[in-house]
């Protein structure tokens, strides 16, 4: 009964789609926390901002979903770079507690601002017709948007891996993280590098906020509500590892889906229990280097 092709496929697809949302948002967090060594708890706030930009731009300017995502990526990246230059950069050498307090404070500023200027209610996202309904995959029919998310998620993962491992910019980032002083003395402009990396990470968060709104909703509490999930993914995957975040998202997404379906009485317990078990087994995360 449980092991029909239909059943297994629908669980895998549903779980992977949920995992991809986690991946797209969390990969930016992994970049800022892992590569720059900054405990950025405002990452969820940037994802939320991105989601809001997508919804508002679609509603007021009438642009399509894809263009709205692009606008959101660029705007959020630009806004976050201003924050990085003005505020974050002052705290790079500060202790983790200072960084945590500062970024949590920033979350509250975002929450309050969106409540005042947009309103406390959930912002519905209208998907284009092509992404709604069911898609016939031959073997079974499945929710079109889930399949779209999986395709986009995998494409982003491959693109990011290529960018970090195979391009000059990626090499500069890795060099700066391994040995900042050496990288600086080789003529790499660290300030600029960090600003761009931070902007990129926040832009990814914005993409995740927009793409994930169908599942996660969008209201001013978003910034804190889902932060725990993003942090879990990053710590399970291992700081700074793109492959790690990818696999951690997939594992958590699929297992959470399957367990919720067959043991709904467990509620949201699973994702936490899973994280604890995985971290007991490998404290540095699946793909992290041992400290």
């Amino acid at each position: 009964m449980i092991f029909t092709v239909d059943n297994i496929a629908s669980m895998l697809l549903g779980g992977m789609a949920a995992g991809m949302v986690l991946f797209i948002v969390s990969v930016g967090l992994s970049v800022t926390m892992g590569l720059m060594g900054f405990a950025n708890l405002a990452h969820g706030a940037f994802a939320m901002l991105g989601g809001y930009i997508v919804v508002l731009v679609m509603r007021h300017w009438g642009v399509g979903f894809a263009l709205a995502l692009a606008i959101s990526f660029v705007l959020t990246a630009a806004i976050s770079m201003v924050f990085e230059r003005l505020l974050y950069s002052r705290l790079y050498k500060a202790g983790e507690l200072d960084q945590v307090l500062f970024t949590i404070g920033l979350c509250f500023v975002f929450i309050a601002s969106l409540t005042v200027f947009v309103g406390p209610e959930n912002q519905p996202l209208t998907l284009p017709d092509a992404l709604r309904g069911q898609l016939d995959l031959g073997l079974l029919q499945y929710r079109t948007y889930s399949i779209f998310l999986i395709v986009v998620g995998v494409a982003i993962a491959i693109g990011l891996w290529f960018g970090f491992e195979r391009t000059r910019f990626g090499a500069q980032i890795r060099a700066a993280v391994d040995n900042r002083r050496m990288a600086e003395s080789l003529g790499i402009n660290i300030d600029r590098l960090f600003a761009v990396t931070f902007g990129f990470g926040s832009g990814m968060a914005a993409l995740g906020g927009g793409l994930g709104a169908e599942f996660l909703g969008l209201d001013p509490q978003y910034a804190l509500k889902y932060l725990v999930f993003f942090l879990i993914v990053v710590s399970v995957g291992g700081l700074g590892s793109i492959a790690g975040v990818f696999w951690a998202s997939l594992i958590i997404g699929v297992l959470d889906f399957v367990l919720k379906k067959y043991l709904p009485q467990g509620g949201t317990l699973f994702i936490y229990a899973l994280a604890i078990l995985l971290l007991l087994w490998r404290p540095q995360g699946l793909f992290g280097k041992p400290a």
């Binding site: 059943n7 629908s10 669980m11 549903g14 789609a17 949920a18 409540t115 309103g119 406390p120 209610e121 959930n122 519905p124 209208t126 709604r132 309904g133 069911q134 029919q141 929710r143 079109t144 948007y145 889930s146 169908e214 599942f215 996660l216 909703g217 209201d219 001013p220 509490q221 509500k225 889902y226 959470d256 889906f257 399957v258 919720k260 379906k261 067959y262 709904p264 009485q265 509620g267 949201t268």
Partner: protein
Amino acid sequence: MLKRILAASAALAVSTALAGAQEVKVGVVLPYTGIGAEFAQLIDRGMEMYLKLNADKVKPYQIKLIKRDAKNPGGNDARVATQELLTQEKVDVLAGWVYSPNAIASAPVVNAGKKFAVIMNAGTAHITQMSGYYARTSFSMWHAGYAMGEAAAKQLKAKTAVVGYTDFPPGKDSLNAFKRAFEASGGKVIDEIPMGGAGAVPDFTPFFQRAKDKKPDVFFVFVPAGDHAAAVTRTYGALGMRQAGIRLIGPGDITQDTKLQAMGDAAIGLITMHHYHADLPNAENKRFVAEWKKAYGANAVPDFMAVGGYDGMALIMHVAHQLKGKIDGDAAIKAAGTFKFNSPRGPISIDPDTRDIVMNEYLSEVVKGPDGRLMQKVIGQIDNVKDACKAQKIAPCK
């Protein structure tokens, strides 16, 4: 100039005299921040709307609303807020409570404070029995849940049902109410799925996938109104459950008026049992909705929470008049039992035995209106429904 100053100070003196003599202080406990912030706004506006539309009935009293933030469904902050209103603000009447856990946690404080307290939303059936000072102008989960269980078996001719519910007190209440009535009418509940908590909206896909696999005739869902409800309809549509022959039914929380338009065509055909929606055709409601749009914008729409606040304020004014402004807790509860009111939801009264509301329930279907907007069409009506949990003395409503 001098004349104007004199006139102004005279007016001020008169108004302070008025305020001093006939002010009624109402302490309001609502989640002004957090996930329930928009519910707080709706109930707030419902109360304001009553004071505005019925200014002649409010005179000679002056209502002063003192608002405190209940923050979240956890209960603790609501209890502290209630306590502060009683001890520091010395309010005459308490009102509010969106979430059941908050009203449950506040009950001992309400009891100790001995002040009249009007519940404007929280719907778990037995809450009103936790304090003798509680009266309720919203609903009990059993009002809609029990009536829907009967209607599902008799009118919708369903034989099997799956119940999905948000795992907190009103969710379990709704499950029990529906199940008891549905099975008493010959149906069978073949699966019960707890679907996460009230604090955050989960991804409903795994739960709905499970329900779909069971192939029931109807899928009865209780989730809190608001974001949860919007996600339910979306997931139902996206998983193709309608095409699989499964009807989505529930209390009116899943078709909350403020969320209906955003649900899109996936909502068409949804069937709910509830005591209010903005499309009710009675004259009182038409006036209420028109005034609401005038005050809060053409796209604004009141919903059952707004009406809970509106009717709650009507009850408070009734009690104030009966007691000539001296609102003693015990006398107020007695006076509440004589409350009868023509509400936008139809005629309502307070049952003197249970202090809970007696009202009509409407079976409605979501259809596309002539103007292309989604609307709810009444397809059945049950008059003067009492809370079935208390009427039948089902535990914990002894």
